[in-house]
């Protein structure tokens, strides 16, 4: 079950990399957070850790529904451009993404040697981190950059839950970071970046 959900997490992230529309990208981010929340809840139930279950539900409410909703409303209000062409053309990404994955899978080998359990999940979450960095890199507009940032946060949360089965401190920090991000998003969009107007 954990393996399936982690696979779905990576799958939604990869599809988000190839998306050309803003609202579709928000949808993929929401599905990504949904799988993350389900993963946290299942791991929490497996190891019988209430903190993990609560943080899973918080992720479900905040990241899977509230943040995408706010993002969509704000992007409608400020009339952001819905067409988001990535800087890197898609036929390059087709080579780049698998290369990145192979690289990170081998990169994470020394790290996973130190961890006793769930080595595969750790490797996948490190590769998810790199993929969300790529998502942030490949777009010029501000909205997909914010979503890339949020997916980085998602993959950090995933890394936290899979690498160390109990880490309430990190989870708390993660949620705090989330709220901070929400404020940053609203601020950035209120400021209505000049660059985007110029384009």
């Amino acid at each position: 079950m954990t393996s399936l959900l982690i696979g779905l997490f990576l799958a939604t992230l990869i599809v988000a990399l190839f998306t050309m529309r803003l609202y579709r990208l928000i949808l993929w981010y929401s599905l990504n957070s949904l799988t993350l929340a389900l993963l946290a809840i299942t791991i929490g139930i497996n190891i019988d850790d209430n903190a993990m279950i609560i943080s899973g539900f918080l992720t479900l409410v905040l990241k899977a529904f509230l943040i995408p909703y706010i993002l969509k409303r704000v992007s409608i209000r400020f009339d952001l451009s819905r067409q988001i062409e990535p800087n890197i053309p898609v036929h390059y990404s087709v080579i780049l993404v698998p290369a990145l994955l192979v690289f990170t899978f081998y990169l994470s080998e020394p790290i996973t040697n130190m961890i006793s359990s769930n080595t595969n999940d750790v490797a996948i979450s490190i590769s998810a981190l790199f993929l969300s960095l790529l998502l942030m890199m490949e777009h010029r507009n501000i909205a997909p950059k914010i979503i890339g940032f949020l997916t980085i946060e998602n993959s950090l949360f995933l890394l936290g839950t899979t690498a160390t089965n109990v880490m309430p401190m990190l989870i708390e920090l993660g949620i705090f970071f989330d709220l901070l991000m929400a404020i940053v998003i609203v601020n950035l969009l209120f400021g209505h970046d000049d660059e985007e107007v110029a384009e």
């Binding site: 393996s3 696979g7 990869i14 190839f18 993404v97 698998p98 899978f105 080595t119 490797a123 996948i124």
Partner: protein
């Protein structure tokens, strides 16, 4: 042996039914008056009774090619993973064989489109070549990685092995292969995000453009090849990615298999209703996703074992 023969005959006779079932569900969802489910058979009988007109510009290829489009697909039907009862008779069939036979069929279809020297035919053939060149690597990789998970390169034995013990440990790479193969199922059968099977508008035509000049019996051959191709993809998907029901009694197993096929048909028709057709130059993006997922499935399986 009898069961083996019967299942192949069943697949052949079921394929027009599945195609018209998809069309029926689509029309129902669009609030149109749905066509009867046996419309596929009616179309075939109508085409059989029609006169066959062949353009005088064409060479002998037009007379040969429709048979050569259909025959590799019929050959694949004999090689498919077992449907019920867990028995199969051809064991050397791997990802390369099936992909190669499908490409052979596509090759003759493209030749057929070029032969009549109409501008639409050439256009359709070039588009088909463009799409099938991108489908091939993804299909080989996806089938290969699933058969690796089934511990055997032969698809038949791999499907039986997947039935016996489901790869819970390799769930992630299994999922990636399933996503990739589903995209291929849509792309290779000319379903909506890639090609619209119902229009005759030259901007959107891929498959229809190549067969504009055919009529009567030859058109029937090509149409049946199309529906059998969908059946092949659906049945590979059903036996490799929904591996259950092989240990049931044979009659019950066949019913379960047919239900799986109809479930896939419903999925495809829901997708068709809910998505718009992609622009032709966006199609490589979709197939690029398929290639990435297929490759990802293989490397996740090899490097991580997940």
């Amino acid at each position: 042996m009898i069961v083996y023969g019967l299942t192949i005959i069943l697949l052949i006779f079921l394929s027009p039914l599945v195609t018209s079932f998809i069309k029926m569900i689509k029309m129902y969802l669009l609030y149109k008056k749905p066509i009867p489910i046996f419309q596929g058979y009616r179309d075939f009988s109508k085409l059989l009774s029609k006169e066959m007109i062949i353009s005088k510009e064409t060479s002998s290829i037009t007379r040969i090619a429709p048979y050569l489009v259909l025959s590799p697909l019929l050959l694949i039907l004999f090689f498919l993973p077992p449907i019920a009862g867990g028995e199969y008779y051809v064991s050397f069939i791997d990802a390369f064989t099936i992909t190669g036979l499908i490409s052979l069929s596509t090759f003759f279809l493209m030749i057929l489109g070029l032969d009549s020297a109409s501008s639409f035919g050439g256009l359709g053939s070039s588009r088909e070549a463009f799409i099938s060149a991108l489908v091939e690597p993804a299909m080989i990789l996806a089938l290969f990685s699933v058969s690796m998970m089934g511990n055997n390169l032969g698809l038949g034995q791999a499907s039986v092995n997947l039935n016996n013990d489901f790869p819970y440990a390799h769930m992630a790479s299994y999922l990636f292969a399933a996503i990739s193969f589903f995209i291929l199922l849509i792309a290779e059968n000319g379903r909506i995000p890639v090609d619209n099977p119902e229009t005759h508008l030259e901007l959107t035509m891929v498959h229809e453009a190549m067969i504009l000049d055919l009529s009567g019996f030859y058109l029937m051959l090509i149409e049946s090849a199309g529906s059998i191709k969908f059946m092949i993809f659906a049945s590979i998907f059903a036996s490799l990615f929904m591996p259950f029901g092989l240990h049931l009694p044979i009659f019950l197993g066949i019913i379960v298999f047919v239900l799986k096929i109809f479930f896939i048909a419903i999925l495809v028709s829901l997708l068709e209703v809910n998505t718009a057709k992609l622009r032709l130059f966006k199609v490589p993006n979709l197939l690029g996703i398929a290639i990435v997922f297929a490759f990802l499935s293989l490397i996740t399986f090899y490097v991580l074992g997940a």
